[in-house]
């Protein structure tokens, strides 16, 4: 296996009596698209939240490029090069599309940031709408804007929480093309996704979670055939 960019070891997170993560360990290989699948409540989004610093783990550790991420605040983790999109879109509704992008610029001059923002807006075909308030854009356009905004700081690791949810076929094709393009640029991507076609076509590696742990992992063709996956989703 190639070098891992992100290593999660024995991660535990409890909410009251519920263990959302119960000793979860996994590795994400550099330059891969890793799919994270599993039934509802298996801990996928919780894992994302812990990696991003939105929550702190009760036990275990998260290492990214040799640095511990657990117990760092979200902005520090973002600045180490972790980008994320949300299951429910989180654009800044009252700001224009361009200001949404500019708010994500951390270093470089104003002019450089603006040039990059326009370049990325062009990448997702939103150039025409740069002066429009983000809240007035369609659902799909907001999704693309959030996606482009995450790329402003050029993160090395992208965490995408259900990028295909609620997206029509045409837009989905475009989103998938963008994700492929990013892999070709050398980015490492982790996707939480329920659409199995997306997972099987896009991912190099699939991790299946169940009850807060890694159930199994492997190449998509192997995982698809494994009876334990079906069992995790539908019960015995």
């Amino acid at each position: 296996m190639t070098e891992s960019l992100l290593t999660v070891t024995d991660l535990v997170k409890r909410f009251g009596g519920v263990s959302a993560l119960d000793g979860c360990s996994l590795k994400v290989a550099r330059g891969n698209i890793t799919g994270l699948i599993g039934p509802n409540g298996s801990g996928k989004t919780t894992l994302f939240n812990l990696i991003c610093g939105l929550d702190t783990p009760d036990a275990g550790q998260i290492v990214f490029r040799g640095e511990r991420l657990d117990r760092r605040p979200p902005h520090a983790i973002a600045r180490l090069g972790v980008g994320r999109t949300f299951q429910l879109i989180q654009v800044f509704p009252e700001l224009t599309a361009l200001d949404n992008m500019m708010a994500a610029a951390r270093d470089g001059s104003w002019g450089q940031s603006r040039a990059r923002a326009l370049e990325l807006l062009a990448f997702v075909n939103l150039t025409q709408l740069r002066g429009e308030r983000a809240g007035n854009l369609s659902f799909g356009q907001q999704k693309l804007l959030e996606f482009a905004r995450m790329l402003m700081s050029d993160p090395g690791l992208l965490l995408l929480d259900e990028p295909a949810a609620g997206v029509n076929r045409v837009l989905l094709e475009r989103l998938l093309d963008h994700i492929q393009a990013l892999r070709e640029q050398g980015k490492t991507i982790v996707i939480v996704e329920h659409d199995m076609n997306v997972v099987m076509n896009l991912c190099d590696w699939v991790c299946v979670m169940d009850q807060g742990r890694l159930l199994l992992e492997g190449p998509p063709e192997v995982v698809r055939e494994d009876p334990r996956v079906i069992e995790a989703y539908f019960g015995r």
């Binding site: 991003c52 610093g53 939105l54 605040p73 979200p74 902005h75 520090a76 973002a78 600045r79 980008g83 994320r84 949300f86 989180q90 654009v91 800044f92 509704p93 009252e94 700001l95 224009t96 200001d99 500019m102 708010a103 994500a104 610029a105 951390r106 104003w110 002066g131 429009e132 308030r133 007035n136 959030e146 905004r149 995450m150 402003m152 700081s153």
Partner: protein, 324 residues
Amino acid sequence: MAQASSDAVPRLERRDARAFMAAGGAFATLFLLALPTFGTAYTQNVLIQMFTFVALASSWNIISGFTGYMSFGHVAFFGLGAYTYALLVTRAAVAWPLAVLAGGVLATALAAAIGLTCLRLRGHYFAIATLGLGEALRIAVLGWDDVTGGGNGILLTPVKELVSSYYGMALVAALAIGLSWAVARSRFGLSLLAIREGEIAAGMLGINTTACKLWAFMLSAVVPGMAGALHGRFIGFIEPASIFAVLITVQMAVFALFGGRGTVSGPILGTCLLFLFQEQVWARFPYLHLFIFGLVLVLIVLLMPKGLLGLLEDRGWIAKGVVR
């Protein structure tokens, strides 16, 4: 959408807006600078109060308009400035301009202390904590009567001329406008707006939300501290009930929200229009003026939550994000 209406109505675009605002601002500045040479005492009195509220509303806007964190106790900084000034001048014979600066410094220090404890958390804790802040300070001043004079207040040496108060308060208002302009055109200001629009997403984009909020809160307290000091000097007598009046916080919030939160010109516009309106109503309907004022507030919140500037933008009369 907005596209259709913009074709029908001539829209204020970026270049025109800048020229218009620069010309208007320059004219207003010259007029106001020259006013003491020809204006009546009444006019100057009204303008001093208007400057005070431009300073307060613009400052309040830095924390509450930009970051969306409602400060319901901003009068605390105003009152603290007034008392700092009064005590330094009467007990320590400090020169008045220095005492005004001291008011600003102490108010900022108080904001730092409150912000460090309350701004780590997201959401409504801050609003509740600040609501208590103004009242707590009022009661403290009332109780600590051997220093503050308690409910009897502090009588200051009367200032006979209006000119120093006029230019002093004008300078303080200009400082508040300058601060909010600097914030609005900076990366920091955009970070504050991002926090208002979605704090979790802002953090995920690398914005240190706690530090930004703390800086914004401190910046929003400097000028109110100085304005409180000058106000005390201007009226010559301060006592807890009027200097820590909840109404003062309500006024700064309403003026800023009416004009347009998170913009530079909104609080100025809002103060000018509503303050004059308030004066008219107060003079004509002495018994009903609070009721009428309240009614106007309800209408603003219901009909134009984004303020005047937001309304004009949504109507397509000015291009989005041009007037800041």
